[in-house]
Protein backbone atom coordinates (compact mmCIF):
# COMPACT_ATOMS: atom_id res chain seq x y z
CA UNK A 1 0.00 0.00 0.00
CA UNK A 2 1.47 3.40 -0.84
CA UNK A 3 3.06 5.10 2.12
CA UNK A 4 1.43 8.44 1.41
CA UNK A 5 -0.35 10.08 4.37
CA UNK A 6 -3.90 8.80 4.84
CA UNK A 7 -5.76 11.35 6.99
CA UNK A 8 -8.26 10.13 9.58
CA UNK A 9 -11.41 12.26 9.51
CA UNK A 10 -14.33 12.07 11.90
CA UNK A 11 -17.63 12.95 10.23
CA UNK A 12 -20.73 14.11 12.12
CA UNK A 13 -23.83 13.54 10.05
CA UNK A 14 -27.47 14.34 10.63
CA UNK A 15 -29.92 11.46 10.81
CA UNK A 16 -32.38 13.00 8.34
CA UNK A 17 -30.19 14.08 5.46
CA UNK A 18 -26.40 13.69 5.32
CA UNK A 19 -26.47 10.24 6.96
CA UNK A 20 -28.99 9.18 4.31
CA UNK A 21 -26.88 10.84 1.63
CA UNK A 22 -24.05 8.57 2.76
CA UNK A 23 -26.40 5.57 2.52
CA UNK A 24 -27.48 6.68 -0.93
CA UNK A 25 -23.86 7.05 -2.00
CA UNK A 26 -23.32 3.51 -0.79
CA UNK A 27 -26.38 1.98 -2.41
CA UNK A 28 -25.65 3.71 -5.68
CA UNK A 29 -22.13 2.22 -5.55
CA UNK A 30 -20.42 5.63 -5.61
CA UNK A 31 -16.73 5.26 -4.71
CA UNK A 32 -15.33 7.71 -2.19
CA UNK A 33 -12.25 7.60 0.06
CA UNK A 34 -12.70 5.51 3.24
CA UNK A 35 -10.88 8.05 5.42
CA UNK A 36 -14.05 9.48 6.95
CA UNK A 37 -15.52 7.65 9.95
CA UNK A 38 -19.13 8.77 10.36
CA UNK A 39 -21.02 9.40 13.59
CA UNK A 40 -24.80 9.81 13.38
CA UNK A 41 -26.50 12.60 15.33
CA UNK A 42 -30.21 13.40 15.26
CA UNK A 43 -29.36 16.89 13.91
CA UNK A 44 -26.28 19.03 13.36
CA UNK A 45 -27.80 21.17 16.09
CA UNK A 46 -26.78 18.33 18.43
CA UNK A 47 -23.12 18.89 17.51
CA UNK A 48 -21.32 20.09 20.61
CA UNK A 49 -17.94 21.78 20.02
CA UNK A 50 -16.68 19.39 22.72
CA UNK A 51 -17.06 16.56 20.18
CA UNK A 52 -14.87 18.41 17.66
CA UNK A 53 -12.22 19.17 20.29
CA UNK A 54 -12.37 15.56 21.50
CA UNK A 55 -11.88 14.27 17.95
CA UNK A 56 -8.85 16.48 17.34
CA UNK A 57 -7.32 15.73 20.72
CA UNK A 58 -7.80 11.96 20.21
CA UNK A 59 -5.84 11.97 16.96
CA UNK A 60 -8.21 12.94 14.15
CA UNK A 61 -6.61 14.95 11.35
CA UNK A 62 -9.92 16.51 10.25
CA UNK A 63 -13.56 16.83 11.29
CA UNK A 64 -16.45 17.02 8.85
CA UNK A 65 -19.88 18.31 9.87
CA UNK A 66 -22.64 17.54 7.35
CA UNK A 67 -26.15 18.82 7.80
CA UNK A 68 -29.32 19.66 5.88
CA UNK A 69 -29.40 22.70 3.65
CA UNK A 70 -30.48 25.86 5.50
CA UNK A 71 -34.28 25.98 5.46
CA UNK A 72 -34.61 22.23 5.02
CA UNK A 73 -33.75 21.16 8.53
CA UNK A 74 -36.05 18.44 9.75
CA UNK A 75 -36.22 20.41 12.99
CA UNK A 76 -36.86 23.61 11.01
CA UNK A 77 -33.85 25.80 11.84
CA UNK A 78 -31.38 23.92 14.00
CA UNK A 79 -28.74 23.75 11.24
CA UNK A 80 -28.36 27.52 11.58
CA UNK A 81 -27.12 26.95 15.12
CA UNK A 82 -24.61 24.45 13.75
CA UNK A 83 -23.48 27.09 11.25
CA UNK A 84 -22.96 29.69 13.99
CA UNK A 85 -21.04 27.25 16.18
CA UNK A 86 -18.91 26.21 13.21
CA UNK A 87 -17.97 29.80 12.45
CA UNK A 88 -17.00 30.48 16.08
CA UNK A 89 -15.11 27.17 16.32
CA UNK A 90 -13.04 27.96 13.23
CA UNK A 91 -11.92 31.23 14.78
CA UNK A 92 -11.07 29.63 18.12
CA UNK A 93 -9.30 26.58 16.66
CA UNK A 94 -7.11 28.88 14.57
CA UNK A 95 -5.61 30.18 17.84
CA UNK A 96 -4.84 26.55 18.74
CA UNK A 97 -2.92 26.18 15.49
CA UNK A 98 -5.65 24.10 13.78
CA UNK A 99 -6.02 25.40 10.22
CA UNK A 100 -9.53 25.93 8.78
CA UNK A 101 -9.11 23.09 6.27
CA UNK A 102 -9.26 20.62 9.15
CA UNK A 103 -12.83 21.54 10.14
CA UNK A 104 -15.42 21.58 7.36
CA UNK A 105 -19.16 22.26 7.40
CA UNK A 106 -21.19 21.15 4.42
CA UNK A 107 -24.85 20.70 3.51
CA UNK A 108 -26.08 17.52 1.84
CA UNK A 109 -29.73 16.55 1.46
CA UNK A 110 -30.85 12.91 1.52
CA UNK A 111 -30.86 12.89 -2.27
CA UNK A 112 -27.36 14.24 -2.76
CA UNK A 113 -25.39 10.99 -2.35
CA UNK A 114 -23.01 11.89 -5.16
CA UNK A 115 -22.44 15.41 -3.89
CA UNK A 116 -21.75 14.13 -0.37
CA UNK A 117 -19.21 11.63 -1.68
CA UNK A 118 -17.56 14.39 -3.70
CA UNK A 119 -17.46 16.64 -0.63
CA UNK A 120 -15.69 13.87 1.32
CA UNK A 121 -13.19 13.29 -1.47
CA UNK A 122 -12.36 17.01 -1.62
CA UNK A 123 -11.89 17.22 2.11
CA UNK A 124 -9.68 14.12 2.24
CA UNK A 125 -7.43 15.70 -0.38
CA UNK A 126 -7.30 19.02 1.41
CA UNK A 127 -6.41 17.41 4.73
CA UNK A 128 -3.86 15.24 2.97
CA UNK A 129 -2.19 18.45 1.71
CA UNK A 130 -2.23 19.99 5.15
CA UNK A 131 -0.67 16.86 6.63
CA UNK A 132 -1.19 14.94 9.88
CA UNK A 133 -2.28 16.80 13.00
CA UNK A 134 -0.86 14.26 15.50
CA UNK A 135 -2.25 16.02 18.59
CA UNK A 136 -0.19 14.85 21.61
CA UNK A 137 -2.05 12.59 24.01
CA UNK A 138 -3.34 13.88 27.29
CA UNK A 139 -0.84 13.51 30.16
CA UNK A 140 -1.77 10.77 32.62
CA UNK A 141 -0.75 11.21 36.28
CA UNK A 142 2.21 8.95 37.10
CA UNK A 143 1.27 6.93 40.19
CA UNK A 144 4.25 7.06 42.61
CA UNK A 145 5.52 3.87 44.22
CA UNK A 146 4.41 3.97 47.87
CA UNK A 147 7.96 3.86 49.34
CA UNK A 148 9.90 7.12 49.36
CA UNK A 149 11.14 6.93 45.80
CA UNK A 150 13.94 9.19 44.54
CA UNK A 151 12.78 12.77 44.16
Amino acid sequence: MSDRFEPVIIGFTCNWCSYRAADLAGTSRIKYPPNVRLIRLMCTGRLDPTFVLKAFSEGADGVLIAGCHPGECHYLEQNYKALRRYQLMTRTLAQFGIVPERLRLTWASAAEGARFAEEIATMVEEVRQVGPLNWPTRPVPRVEQASGGAA
Binding site: T50, L53, L88, Q95, R142
Partner: protein, 329 residues
Protein backbone atom coordinates in the same frame (compact mmCIF):
# COMPACT_ATOMS: atom_id res chain seq x y z
CA UNK B 1 -2.79 12.71 70.46
CA UNK B 2 -0.92 15.42 68.50
CA UNK B 3 -2.87 17.49 66.01
CA UNK B 4 -3.02 16.20 62.40
CA UNK B 5 -0.60 17.93 60.05
CA UNK B 6 -1.76 20.55 57.55
CA UNK B 7 0.29 21.90 54.66
CA UNK B 8 -0.22 24.50 51.97
CA UNK B 9 2.10 24.82 49.01
CA UNK B 10 2.24 27.06 45.96
CA UNK B 11 3.67 25.87 42.67
CA UNK B 12 3.49 28.31 39.74
CA UNK B 13 1.15 30.68 41.58
CA UNK B 14 0.56 34.27 42.71
CA UNK B 15 -0.07 33.92 46.44
CA UNK B 16 -3.71 34.93 46.09
CA UNK B 17 -4.81 31.58 47.48
CA UNK B 18 -2.65 32.09 50.57
CA UNK B 19 -4.16 35.53 51.11
CA UNK B 20 -7.64 34.04 50.60
CA UNK B 21 -6.88 31.47 53.31
CA UNK B 22 -5.67 34.23 55.61
CA UNK B 23 -8.84 36.14 54.77
CA UNK B 24 -10.95 33.55 56.60
CA UNK B 25 -10.03 35.93 59.45
CA UNK B 26 -10.91 34.52 62.90
CA UNK B 27 -11.29 31.00 61.51
CA UNK B 28 -7.49 30.94 61.15
CA UNK B 29 -7.59 30.24 64.88
CA UNK B 30 -9.70 27.12 64.22
CA UNK B 31 -7.02 26.03 61.75
CA UNK B 32 -4.36 26.57 64.39
CA UNK B 33 -6.47 24.82 67.03
CA UNK B 34 -7.17 21.69 64.99
CA UNK B 35 -4.10 21.32 62.85
CA UNK B 36 -0.36 21.56 63.19
CA UNK B 37 0.85 23.54 60.20
CA UNK B 38 3.71 21.35 58.97
CA UNK B 39 4.62 23.22 55.78
CA UNK B 40 3.42 26.58 54.45
CA UNK B 41 6.17 28.57 52.62
CA UNK B 42 4.04 31.74 52.50
CA UNK B 43 3.72 31.88 56.28
CA UNK B 44 6.14 29.38 57.87
CA UNK B 45 9.88 28.83 57.58
CA UNK B 46 9.84 25.09 56.84
CA UNK B 47 12.28 24.12 54.07
CA UNK B 48 12.01 21.49 51.29
CA UNK B 49 14.64 19.32 52.95
CA UNK B 50 12.50 19.08 56.06
CA UNK B 51 9.49 17.99 53.97
CA UNK B 52 11.54 15.32 52.24
CA UNK B 53 12.56 14.02 55.64
CA UNK B 54 8.93 13.58 56.75
CA UNK B 55 7.32 10.13 56.70
CA UNK B 56 5.07 9.32 53.75
CA UNK B 57 1.44 10.36 54.23
CA UNK B 58 2.37 12.07 57.48
CA UNK B 59 0.56 15.23 56.39
CA UNK B 60 -3.20 14.71 56.66
CA UNK B 61 -4.17 17.35 54.13
CA UNK B 62 -2.18 19.52 51.72
CA UNK B 63 -3.76 22.44 49.90
CA UNK B 64 -1.74 22.57 46.68
CA UNK B 65 -2.27 25.73 44.64
CA UNK B 66 -0.45 26.86 41.54
CA UNK B 67 -0.02 25.08 38.24
CA UNK B 68 2.85 22.86 37.04
CA UNK B 69 5.09 25.13 35.00
CA UNK B 70 8.59 24.06 36.01
CA UNK B 71 10.29 20.76 36.87
CA UNK B 72 10.45 21.92 40.49
CA UNK B 73 6.68 22.39 40.52
CA UNK B 74 6.30 18.80 39.26
CA UNK B 75 8.85 17.50 41.72
CA UNK B 76 6.98 19.18 44.59
CA UNK B 77 3.69 17.75 43.31
CA UNK B 78 5.10 14.22 43.47
CA UNK B 79 6.80 14.91 46.81
CA UNK B 80 3.65 16.30 48.44
CA UNK B 81 1.56 13.53 46.91
CA UNK B 82 3.81 11.07 48.69
CA UNK B 83 3.86 12.98 51.94
CA UNK B 84 0.12 13.75 52.10
CA UNK B 85 -2.82 11.54 52.84
CA UNK B 86 -5.17 14.01 51.13
CA UNK B 87 -3.91 16.20 48.30
CA UNK B 88 -6.32 19.03 47.44
CA UNK B 89 -6.02 20.91 44.14
CA UNK B 90 -6.72 24.37 45.57
CA UNK B 91 -7.65 27.32 43.36
CA UNK B 92 -7.92 27.71 39.58
CA UNK B 93 -4.17 27.29 38.80
CA UNK B 94 -3.96 23.80 40.29
CA UNK B 95 -7.37 22.81 38.88
CA UNK B 96 -7.41 24.35 35.39
CA UNK B 97 -4.11 26.21 34.85
CA UNK B 98 -5.73 29.63 35.41
CA UNK B 99 -4.55 32.78 33.62
CA UNK B 100 -0.85 31.79 33.47
CA UNK B 101 -2.16 28.75 31.57
CA UNK B 102 -2.78 31.15 28.66
CA UNK B 103 0.96 30.86 28.04
CA UNK B 104 0.03 27.56 26.36
CA UNK B 105 -1.35 29.58 23.45
CA UNK B 106 2.18 30.03 22.14
CA UNK B 107 5.49 28.19 22.36
CA UNK B 108 7.51 28.50 25.58
CA UNK B 109 10.38 30.11 23.66
CA UNK B 110 8.17 33.22 23.28
CA UNK B 111 8.22 33.72 27.05
CA UNK B 112 12.00 34.07 27.11
CA UNK B 113 11.94 36.13 23.92
CA UNK B 114 9.52 38.66 25.44
CA UNK B 115 10.93 38.74 28.95
CA UNK B 116 14.60 39.12 28.12
CA UNK B 117 14.44 41.41 25.09
CA UNK B 118 11.68 43.77 26.26
CA UNK B 119 12.10 47.50 25.59
CA UNK B 120 13.15 48.17 29.19
CA UNK B 121 15.73 45.35 29.23
CA UNK B 122 19.40 46.14 28.66
CA UNK B 123 20.73 42.78 27.58
CA UNK B 124 23.57 43.50 25.14
CA UNK B 125 25.12 40.05 25.35
CA UNK B 126 21.69 38.33 25.04
CA UNK B 127 21.90 36.58 28.38
CA UNK B 128 19.19 34.04 29.17
CA UNK B 129 18.54 32.34 32.50
CA UNK B 130 19.86 28.81 32.24
CA UNK B 131 19.10 25.62 34.15
CA UNK B 132 22.76 25.39 35.21
CA UNK B 133 25.30 28.19 35.27
CA UNK B 134 28.89 28.17 36.39
CA UNK B 135 29.37 30.99 38.89
CA UNK B 136 32.95 31.70 40.06
CA UNK B 137 32.11 30.09 43.39
CA UNK B 138 30.16 27.07 42.07
CA UNK B 139 27.33 25.93 39.85
CA UNK B 140 23.97 27.60 40.29
CA UNK B 141 20.90 25.70 39.12
CA UNK B 142 17.49 27.00 38.03
CA UNK B 143 14.54 24.72 37.51
CA UNK B 144 13.70 24.76 33.77
CA UNK B 145 10.27 25.69 32.42
CA UNK B 146 8.36 22.80 30.87
CA UNK B 147 7.01 23.17 27.32
CA UNK B 148 3.40 23.68 28.49
CA UNK B 149 1.63 24.46 31.74
CA UNK B 150 -0.07 21.41 33.27
CA UNK B 151 -2.57 21.06 36.05
CA UNK B 152 -2.01 19.11 39.26
CA UNK B 153 -4.27 16.20 38.27
CA UNK B 154 -2.31 15.79 35.04
CA UNK B 155 0.78 15.06 37.14
CA UNK B 156 -0.43 13.27 40.29
CA UNK B 157 -3.61 11.71 41.70
CA UNK B 158 -5.71 14.46 43.32
CA UNK B 159 -8.15 13.71 46.12
CA UNK B 160 -10.29 16.86 46.16
CA UNK B 161 -10.75 20.04 44.15
CA UNK B 162 -11.47 23.55 45.47
CA UNK B 163 -12.02 25.89 42.50
CA UNK B 164 -11.80 29.68 42.28
CA UNK B 165 -9.24 32.39 41.61
CA UNK B 166 -8.86 32.66 44.48
CA UNK B 167 -11.48 30.48 46.20
CA UNK B 168 -13.83 32.82 48.09
CA UNK B 169 -12.96 32.98 51.77
CA UNK B 170 -16.43 31.92 52.92
CA UNK B 171 -16.02 28.78 50.78
CA UNK B 172 -12.57 28.08 52.23
CA UNK B 173 -14.03 28.43 55.71
CA UNK B 174 -16.74 25.92 54.77
CA UNK B 175 -14.14 23.44 53.46
CA UNK B 176 -12.11 23.92 56.64
CA UNK B 177 -15.21 23.16 58.72
CA UNK B 178 -15.68 19.91 56.79
CA UNK B 179 -12.04 18.97 57.40
CA UNK B 180 -12.31 19.79 61.08
CA UNK B 181 -15.52 17.75 61.35
CA UNK B 182 -13.77 14.81 59.65
CA UNK B 183 -10.78 15.15 61.99
CA UNK B 184 -13.12 15.16 64.98
CA UNK B 185 -14.81 12.09 63.57
CA UNK B 186 -18.09 13.96 63.28
CA UNK B 187 -18.26 13.60 59.48
CA UNK B 188 -17.25 11.25 56.70
CA UNK B 189 -14.69 12.21 54.09
CA UNK B 190 -16.43 13.43 50.90
CA UNK B 191 -16.13 10.99 47.94
CA UNK B 192 -12.68 10.99 46.30
CA UNK B 193 -12.42 13.49 43.46
CA UNK B 194 -15.26 15.63 44.82
CA UNK B 195 -15.28 19.35 44.17
CA UNK B 196 -15.57 21.22 47.46
CA UNK B 197 -16.22 24.87 48.21
CA UNK B 198 -18.37 25.48 45.15
CA UNK B 199 -21.98 25.31 44.07
CA UNK B 200 -23.40 22.73 41.67
CA UNK B 201 -24.79 25.18 39.10
CA UNK B 202 -23.31 28.19 37.30
CA UNK B 203 -22.83 31.86 38.22
CA UNK B 204 -26.20 32.90 36.75
CA UNK B 205 -27.83 30.88 39.52
CA UNK B 206 -26.50 33.37 42.09
CA UNK B 207 -26.58 36.48 39.89
CA UNK B 208 -29.25 39.02 40.89
CA UNK B 209 -29.58 40.51 37.40
CA UNK B 210 -32.84 40.01 35.45
CA UNK B 211 -32.51 37.51 32.63
CA UNK B 212 -34.61 37.12 29.49
CA UNK B 213 -34.48 34.96 26.36
CA UNK B 214 -30.99 35.41 24.91
CA UNK B 215 -30.69 36.77 21.38
CA UNK B 216 -27.31 38.41 20.71
CA UNK B 217 -27.26 40.86 17.79
CA UNK B 218 -24.10 42.66 18.90
CA UNK B 219 -21.17 41.91 21.20
CA UNK B 220 -19.30 44.96 22.44
CA UNK B 221 -16.36 45.54 24.78
CA UNK B 222 -16.93 47.05 28.19
CA UNK B 223 -15.42 50.41 27.27
CA UNK B 224 -17.92 50.65 24.41
CA UNK B 225 -20.83 50.19 26.82
CA UNK B 226 -20.83 53.16 29.22
CA UNK B 227 -24.60 52.85 29.71
CA UNK B 228 -24.50 49.29 31.23
CA UNK B 229 -27.31 49.20 33.78
CA UNK B 230 -27.28 47.25 37.06
CA UNK B 231 -30.61 45.45 36.55
CA UNK B 232 -30.31 43.43 33.36
CA UNK B 233 -28.08 40.52 32.43
CA UNK B 234 -24.75 41.81 31.09
CA UNK B 235 -24.75 39.34 28.18
CA UNK B 236 -28.12 40.68 27.08
CA UNK B 237 -26.68 44.19 27.15
CA UNK B 238 -24.09 43.05 24.63
CA UNK B 239 -21.16 42.39 27.01
CA UNK B 240 -19.45 38.98 26.87
CA UNK B 241 -19.88 37.35 30.29
CA UNK B 242 -18.66 33.84 31.15
CA UNK B 243 -21.24 33.46 33.94
CA UNK B 244 -23.48 30.91 32.17
CA UNK B 245 -20.62 28.38 31.92
CA UNK B 246 -18.71 29.11 35.12
CA UNK B 247 -19.36 27.14 38.27
CA UNK B 248 -21.32 28.88 41.01
CA UNK B 249 -20.09 29.34 44.58
CA UNK B 250 -18.71 32.89 44.49
CA UNK B 251 -22.13 34.56 44.86
CA UNK B 252 -21.68 36.10 41.40
CA UNK B 253 -19.17 38.60 42.79
CA UNK B 254 -18.12 40.34 39.58
CA UNK B 255 -21.48 40.67 37.76
CA UNK B 256 -22.93 42.12 40.97
CA UNK B 257 -20.46 45.01 40.75
CA UNK B 258 -20.99 45.67 37.07
CA UNK B 259 -18.01 43.63 35.81
CA UNK B 260 -18.45 40.56 33.58
CA UNK B 261 -17.77 37.11 35.02
CA UNK B 262 -14.39 36.03 33.59
CA UNK B 263 -14.81 32.32 34.43
CA UNK B 264 -12.47 31.84 37.40
CA UNK B 265 -14.52 29.11 39.16
CA UNK B 266 -14.02 26.78 36.22
CA UNK B 267 -16.52 24.53 34.51
CA UNK B 268 -19.91 23.44 35.79
CA UNK B 269 -20.17 19.95 37.34
CA UNK B 270 -19.51 17.13 34.87
CA UNK B 271 -18.32 19.45 32.10
CA UNK B 272 -15.17 18.34 30.24
CA UNK B 273 -14.28 21.59 28.50
CA UNK B 274 -15.42 24.98 29.83
CA UNK B 275 -14.33 26.81 26.70
CA UNK B 276 -16.48 24.57 24.50
CA UNK B 277 -19.50 25.31 26.69
CA UNK B 278 -18.99 29.07 26.32
CA UNK B 279 -18.32 28.73 22.58
CA UNK B 280 -21.53 26.79 21.93
CA UNK B 281 -23.64 28.95 24.27
CA UNK B 282 -22.65 32.24 22.66
CA UNK B 283 -22.73 30.92 19.07
CA UNK B 284 -26.15 29.31 19.47
CA UNK B 285 -27.84 32.56 20.46
CA UNK B 286 -26.28 34.79 17.80
CA UNK B 287 -29.39 36.24 16.21
CA UNK B 288 -28.29 35.97 12.57
CA UNK B 289 -28.70 33.36 9.85
CA UNK B 290 -26.39 34.59 7.06
CA UNK B 291 -22.70 33.63 7.44
CA UNK B 292 -21.57 37.22 6.77
CA UNK B 293 -23.96 38.63 9.38
CA UNK B 294 -22.90 35.94 11.86
CA UNK B 295 -19.27 36.88 11.31
CA UNK B 296 -20.06 40.53 11.98
CA UNK B 297 -21.47 39.61 15.40
CA UNK B 298 -18.56 37.27 16.17
CA UNK B 299 -16.15 40.09 15.39
CA UNK B 300 -17.29 41.47 18.75
CA UNK B 301 -15.02 38.77 20.30
CA UNK B 302 -11.52 39.81 19.23
CA UNK B 303 -9.87 36.98 21.20
CA UNK B 304 -12.13 33.87 21.29
CA UNK B 305 -9.58 31.38 22.69
CA UNK B 306 -8.44 33.89 25.34
CA UNK B 307 -12.05 34.69 26.26
CA UNK B 308 -13.41 31.12 26.38
CA UNK B 309 -10.32 29.53 27.91
CA UNK B 310 -9.16 32.44 30.10
CA UNK B 311 -8.89 30.13 33.14
CA UNK B 312 -9.23 26.58 31.83
CA UNK B 313 -6.86 26.30 28.86
CA UNK B 314 -4.39 23.88 30.46
CA UNK B 315 -7.23 21.56 31.48
CA UNK B 316 -9.16 21.81 28.21
CA UNK B 317 -9.34 18.97 25.73
CA UNK B 318 -6.70 20.54 23.49
CA UNK B 319 -4.68 21.96 26.43
CA UNK B 320 -2.43 24.17 24.32
CA UNK B 321 -1.56 25.54 20.91
CA UNK B 322 -0.13 22.86 18.62
CA UNK B 323 3.23 24.65 18.29
CA UNK B 324 3.51 24.91 22.09
CA UNK B 325 2.85 21.19 22.47
CA UNK B 326 5.33 20.34 19.75
CA UNK B 327 8.22 22.09 21.56
CA UNK B 328 10.47 19.45 23.10
CA UNK B 329 11.07 19.93 26.87
Amino acid sequence: MSKPKFAMYWASACGGCEIAVLNIDEKILDLDANFEVAFWPAAMDVKYKEVEAMDDESILVTLFNGSIRTDENEHMAHLLRRKSKLLVAFGSCANEGCIPGLANLSPREGIFECAYTSPSTENPDHLRPRSAWQAPEGTLTLTPLQSVVRTLDQVVEVDYHVPGCPPESHQIAAVLDVLIAVVKGEAELPPKGAVLGAGDSTVCDECTRKRDIKRISKLSRIQELPMLNTEDCLLEQGLMCSGPATRSGCNSRCPNVGAPCIGCYGAAPGVLDQGARLMTAIASVVDEKEPAAIDKVLDGLPDPAGTFYRFSLAHSLLRANRAALAEKP
